[in-house]
Symmetry: C2
């Protein structure tokens, strides 16, 4: 078994990303400027936020007209009705709500607070505080595209994870999770494998892409040091590549809504 | 800002741990044998399982007498009543159950399936399959003790995390979490800090010890490659050390039970 030493390193010098920017070019340029380079087998973990910015997934609160449903819910949970409208428009259904909290199933299938809508690090100096940032429409597709572009432009075969930070039902603090994947499996299914004593394993599906997303998140930081991309080197996940949808729990197995 | 490059490496050659073993000695001996050494500032992530084994937290199913409550619940969820008895004896309360699934609040406060009781990698060759392994009684205390012993015996100042793998409410696959901590903060509270544009951060409590636990879990593996201890080097978490209890969500904030 390999996978004995893994290195995580940030890609430094990534500029603020603006609508229309080519994320792959931004990353490759930053690597060139810093003298670093990608290698075959690297796992590139990229923060959701820079994809959303490049895709102009901004919404201006001043342009949102809350529906009656959003207004009613906003009153109940003491949130801005325009934010509630945006959250509902991004969601399949409301999972839980209470004052200050709105947890939904995002259209992508992920259960998250506020549909992953972000109001931090969004506006730039001089601009209004009126903008928020929605998740990309197709994170798996974005990862596949970046992966193909890196193959094409830099000639290296990397895997790509798009990560975001989310809260948990029973634990404090956010952790990184994978919302888009290309070139690696989202889970490792050990069912059928044996343990150290040659007995079938019990707990046997590992959310490997989420673990890698969390590992990268350690270096990405949340505040002003912002390092949106991390290279994971030295780890190869066994199994066939999947999308991030394998990490969405089947509704039939969901005991908590 | 430092924290730009972090390495994760397994401690190789750790033998099977037996009741009464000194976990610190086992780890330091393995390090010496492999020519590696710990350094000040390292974060040592150790799998719960080897603590439980060293502390003889085994339970023999043949010696368990299920209560009436356990028998009734076992029938309902189609599990071995002796396992259900053990789970209930480790738990403060049942959070959810259905056929094949029993999610409880462990006495330590953590919400987990099966109270973290493990039936994999427990028995050794020739022994019966009758044993399961409970969580340690005081993971934070265990981490503090190992940390102090390493300081004393090896003269280095490390942080220690005890990790376990758990399932999630809405996502498939297990991820590593921290159930014991010494010498580092369990969360990073960024409230009051500003974002890139000098505005107060919104999502601002990071479950850093869980992210580090998940990162280590990538290398620990679940199956026969078993690598129970991982050294994280190059990362310093800001803030004062805490126990793992800071990662337990307040019941008042729990919307899911």
């Amino acid at each position: 078994m390999s996978n004995r030493r893994v290195t995580l390193s940030t890609i430094d010098g990534i500029p603020l990303v603006r609508p229309g920017d080519d994320v792959t070019a931004v990353l490759l340029d930053a690597l060139t400027a810093s003298g670093d380079r990608l290698a075959d087998g690297d796992i590139l973990v990229i923060a959701q936020k820079i994809f959303s910015k490049a895709q102009d997934r901004y919404a201006s609160l001043s342009e949102v007209s809350p529906s009656e449903q959003a207004q009613k819910l906003a009153l109940e949970i003491d949130k801005d009705p325009r934010i509630v409208e945006l959250i509902l428009s991004e969601a399949n259904e409301v999972v839980r709500h209470r004052p200050g909290v709105l947890i939904v199933e995002h259209k992508l299938g992920f259960v998250m607070a506020n549909a992953g809508i972000d109001a931090s690090n969004v506006a730039e100096g001089g601009e209004s505080d009126d903008r928020v940032l929605l998740l990309p429409v197709d994170p798996d597709g974005d990862c596949a595209r970046v992966r193909a572009e890196i193959q094409e432009r830099a000639g290296v075969d990397v895997a790509v994870i798009m990560n975001d930070s989310v809260g948990r039902a029973w634990r404090s603090g956010t952790v990184g999770i994978a919302i888009g994947i290309a070139g690696l499996p989202g889970i490792i299914d050990l069912r059928g494998e044996n343990d150290l004593f040659d007995r079938p394993l019990m707990t046997s599906i590992v959310g490997i892409a989420d673990e890698l997303a969390a590992a990268a998140s350690v270096l990405q930081g949340q505040a002003d040091e912002g390092a949106p991309a991390v290279i994971i080197r030295g780890y190869t996940a066994p199994g066939a590549p999947t999308t991030a949808q394998v990490l969405v729990r089947d509704k039939a197995e969901d005991l908590f809504r």
